[in-house]
Symmetry: C2
Subunit: 193 residues, 2 copies
């Protein structure tokens, strides 16, 4: 019927995700996105409506990708002890920093930023963190030490662990020294052991 798109939408979205991941929602300017995605204004607006809509799609993608990866790790049956799965998640976050990636977590950055005034973003962030929390809840069920907790207590514990996770990744983004970050992970391990 007409001229086909010369770029892959999914690929462009992936690139946009990395731009937002690094600069945050407000910190990512149109030129930043254009550069990172490798396309021009006309194409971006035709394909993604506007910056906010693009960010919402990026958030959705991040959830489907990073969050689901975390949830998968948290319900990995090849690690029988759920507490160890949770530890693996924290250690993975720390490893990211050691490997030079101190962008933190896109969701956590958005939580401190646009979530405070934009209801849509707040809702998406809340859902993403909620999914992670549920994954932790499941993992706790596979931990001998915590499986005996009643659901309310176990849920509250999952909420607390999510808070630790948000704290860790936010502090990583702030480039807090590695030793402190390592201590956090280590102490989480002690707490769950």
């Amino acid at each position: 019927m007409a001229r086909p798109r010369s770029f892959d939408t999914d690929d462009a979205l992936e690139k946009a995700m990395h731009v937002f991941w690094q600069h945050g929602y407000e910190g990512a300017s149109l030129p930043d996105l254009l550069d990172g995605m490798g396309l021009t204004r006309g194409s971006l607006y035709k394909a993604f409506t506007d910056k906010k809509t693009l960010f919402m799609q990026v958030l959705q993608r991040y959830e489907k990708q990073a969050v689901q990866a975390g949830v998968a790790m948290l319900s990995d049956p090849s690690v029988p002890n759920g507490a160890e799965r949770i530890m693996a998640m924290f250690q993975g976050s720390y490893q990211n920093v050691v490997n030079g990636d101190d962008r933190g977590c896109l969701l956590c950055t958005a939580a401190a930023g646009p979530s405070s005034y934009d209801d849509e973003i707040a809702k998406a962030v809340s859902e993403g963190l909620g999914a992670l929390r549920d994954g932790i809840y499941v993992a706790l069920g596979a931990s001998p030490k915590h499986a005996t907790l009643n659901p309310a207590e176990r849920g509250a514990l999952a909420d607390m662990i999510i808070a630790q996770y948000v704290g860790l990744r936010t502090m990583a983004r702030a480039r807090i020294d590695h030793e402190t970050l390592h201590n956090i992970v280590r102490s989480v391990g002690v707490m769950l052991a």
Copy 2:
């Protein structure tokens, strides 16, 4: 010698702090600050050089005020059990939210924002959180259950608790539902008990 200032510098700084607290560093525009501080561009730039310098002074003020208040609470001898002091800090943060203040913690917001690319801000944030961490460390020393920990373990535990604190306040800013926030505080209590 010359005309004296018609506004109180300290008072203006206090007002600037609240503007930054609500909007974050990047989110606070000059007009926002001018309105909130009740002065004009000329006066602001003459007294505070520029936005960044103003923010650094605000950060310093926040440390001298909010952080020191937290540290004071954490070393309050009228509460003999240090763990209870830590709990009081978490409960205070939750109470803020219940009372309608969901601005979170200025330091935590800065951690997720400009700290990622501005070394000066990162340093100030790191120092502020460090002071709070040291306060927690001291409080743990006054907790029967934790005083026996060796210094390294106790320090690592303090680091972990700071991460929980950053997480809690960041999630508060993202307007996560009160029940979840309450669960976090409650579970911290269970953990420390």
